[in-house]
């Protein structure tokens, strides 16, 4: 179970990373296409017209999808920002309970976010909403990815809470301690 969950978070964040790399490649192709056009015009050839249609829209969707897919992995890496003054000041007997309560609250809020996002994705599906650009993209695809990412985030927070209640140390806490100690 532990291994399956960790692999799931890891797979999602690598998918997010690959998506960011894909945006970079698309933008690079767009720039090269524009340069090729300029070169063609300079040499009196007809422009090749190598552009990626609706790149701005597709890029924005890819960005949003990637961000939500990466949320759980970012938690595991201890990289979401928070103020730890109080948790650090508490004695070792009380700190895990506050940690678990905070995880529970965060999981509840993430649950709300997932539900809200799912409603939006369902709406887009029912009304068949598509984007405005040259290539109409069904909005349910990126919004569905957003919902899935938020769901996974909620799962990872619940996972961390259960680990704390059982007396273990969740991944985000270990990672935070590692960062503070200088890796």
């Amino acid at each position: 179970m532990r291994r399956t969950l960790d692999r799931l978070y890891e797979a999602a964040i690598w998918l997010a990373a690959a998506t960011f790399a894909l945006i970079a490649v698309l933008v690079l192709l767009q720039i090269l296409g524009r340069l090729a056009d300029r070169a063609a015009r300079f040499l009196d050839f007809p422009p090749l017209g190598l552009t990626i249609p609706s790149l701005a829209e597709i890029g924005a969707f890819l960005f949003t999808g990637a961000v939500f897919l990466g949320l759980a992995g970012t938690l595991q890496a201890g990289s979401h920002v928070r103020v730890k003054l109080l948790i650090q000041a508490l004695p070792d007997t009380a700190a895990p309970w506050l940690g678990a309560a905070v995880c529970a609250a965060a999981a509840a809020l993430a649950g709300f976010a997932t539900w809200s996002s799912a409603l939006q994705a369902l709406d887009s599906l029912q009304f068949g909403s598509v984007s405005y650009g040259v290539i109409p993209i069904p909005l349910v695809i990126p919004q569905g990815v957003m919902t899935a990412g938020l769901g996974l985030f909620c799962l990872s927070l619940t996972d961390a809470m259960v680990t704390l209640v059982r007396g273990g140390a969740p991944a985000h806490q270990l990672a935070e301690t590692r960062t503070e100690a200088g890796k």
């Binding site: 964040i13 690598w14 997010a16 990373a17 960011f20 790399a21 945006i23 970079a24 933008v27 690079l28 767009q30 720039i31 701005a56 829209e57 890029g59 924005a60 969707f61 890819l62 960005f63 949003t64 990637a66 961000v67 990466g70 949320l71 992995g73 970012t74 890496a77 990289s79 979401h80 920002v81 928070r82 103020v83 730890k84 003054l85 109080l86 948790i87 506050l98 940690g99 309560a101 905070v102 609250a105 965060a106 809020l109 993430a110 709300f112 976010a113 539900w115 809200s116 996002s117 409603l119 939006q120 990126p142 919004q143 957003m146 960062t179 503070e180 100690a181 200088g182």
Partner: protein
């Protein structure tokens, strides 16, 4: 519910959840949710997804992962060690000598990285051991690094300015250009302070380094030329209007990959690690932005920002008095919150009041960055302090004491920027727009 009771309730929810250790993004969502449940006619469930979706699926934000990635690649290259050998010979004749490497190195690195923590860590790991080995005053070495490390946010590319621009719908290209001159001014202020300090404290300076041959010095400096070229290409293409910030950032990523692999310093594993690190940082920032997008709308329903703007308007403060008040407020906030959280909270609550006072939003972005830079070096929560504590093992309060003069210089810079707004607004005004 009356605003007079709602506003304190929301403040308690915000600071209470932050103090308990709830992640910043969730704290923003929690405050937004309470505000919506109490004050809004619309159901929170639909508003949340719509606003978060609308706030994040913005093309301009794709510049964020790209600029972060570019910095992450260069951190893993030989840039930082080249930086010390390339800059050191040229500071040998200035009063304060190698202490200037901290300022120059941070300014140069800030121009390829948008993050203060990354700038501090990269320059600090290289310069602090060198300075200590040569007998420089530890307090001054650490103080200059803590102060100069904050350049990362001001000198473009700047993560904070991308976040501010996306949240306020200002042009990121213009914001970037507005940061250039104030960044250089700050570097000049820091360098000037080092010279004065070194002249007054001759007894604390170590004996002079053996002189480096001119040819050797230029050879070492020449190794920095490709990076300088990359900086000029990225900033220049934005200035000339040839490339959007995202395109410039992707050029930067491509250039960084070429530079780092040409020096044989970038293995495939490093490349993947840089991509993963950029992903983690982007997701962290974007989650705070998501919380802020929801909070901004929720606050709009409560009417608190409007009321605040009206109350401040009724006080008939001069713009200087308003800015002085805001500076103090931000310094206090900055002791407990990180820069991005300060920016997003400001945009949700304070911006209507600022625009009502007739302050230019581009100028205010640069002002905000300067104040956020201060928050990096004020305890108990200051990211540059954490980074330097990690490198040196000194506790954050000691580091903050060493950095105090540079905090003062940041306050001075805010004063200069307020008296002469042209420092920020002149360069974007000359920009060749498309």
């Amino acid at each position: 519910m009356e605003i007079a009771t709602l506003a304190p309730l929301l403040l308690v929810v915000l600071f209470g959840s932050l103090a308990l250790g709830l992640w910043v993004g969730f704290a923003l969502i929690a405050v937004g949710l309470v505000a919506m449940l109490v004050a809004a006619p619309a159901p929170a469930s639909l508003v949340f997804a719509t606003k978060v979706w609308g706030g994040l699926s913005v093309w301009d934000l794709t510049a964020l992962p790209m600029f972060i990635w570019m910095g992450e690649i260069l951190v893993r290259s030989r840039l930082s060690s080249d930086m010390f050998s390339g800059l050191a010979p040229f500071t040998a004749r200035l009063p304060g000598r190698l202490l200037h490497v901290n300022v120059l190195g941070c300014a140069l690195f800030a121009a390829v990285s948008g993050s203060s923590a990354a700038t501090t860590a990269t320059i600090g790991r290289m310069s602090l051991p060198e300075l200590r080995a040569r007998g420089y005053d530890d307090r001054m070495a650490i103080g200059t690094l803590a102060g100069s490390g904050t350049f990362g946010f001001l000198i473009p590319p700047s993560i904070i300015l991308i976040v501010y621009g996306a949240a306020t719908e200002q042009s990121i290209a213009r914001l970037f250009l507005a940061g250039v001159l104030p960044g250089l001014m700050l570097a000049a202020l820091f360098a000037g302070y080092i010279m004065i300090w070194a002249t007054l404290n001759k007894d604390k300076m170590p004996p002079a380094e053996p002189p480096v041959g001119r040819r050797e010095a230029f050879r070492a400096a020449a190794r920095l030329l490709p990076v300088v070229g990359l900086i000029l290409a990225v900033i220049g293409s934005i200035y000339l209007g040839i490339a959007s910030p995202t395109e410039a950032a992707v050029i930067g990523v491509a250039g960084a990959v070429i530079l780092a692999s040409a020096t044989g310093a970038l293995a495939w594993a490093d490349f993947l690690e840089s991509l993963r690190a950029a992903t983690v940082t982007t997701c962290m920032i974007a989650f705070i932005l998501a919380g802020a997008a929801f909070l901004t709308v929720a606050m709009g329903y409560t009417g608190i920002p409007r009321e605040l703007a009206r109350a401040i308007g009724a006080m008939e403060l001069t713009p200087y008095a308003l800015l002085a008040m805001l500076t103090v407020f931000f310094i206090v906030m900055g002791m407990f919150l990180d820069g991005i959280s300060i920016v997003v909270l400001t945009v949700s609550i304070i911006l209507p009041m600022v625009t009502a006072a007739g302050i230019d939003p581009i100028w205010f972005g640069v002002f905000l960055v300067l104040v956020v830079e201060m928050s990096q070096i004020t305890p108990p929560v200051g990211f540059n302090l954490f980074v330097i504590q990690t490198i040196t093992g000194r506790d954050i309060f000691a580091v903050a004491r060493y950095a105090a003069p540079f905090f003062g210089l940041l306050v001075l810079a805010v004063g200069l920027l307020s008296l002469f707004p042209g420092i920020a607004l002149w360069l974007p005004g000359t920009m060749l727009s498309r």
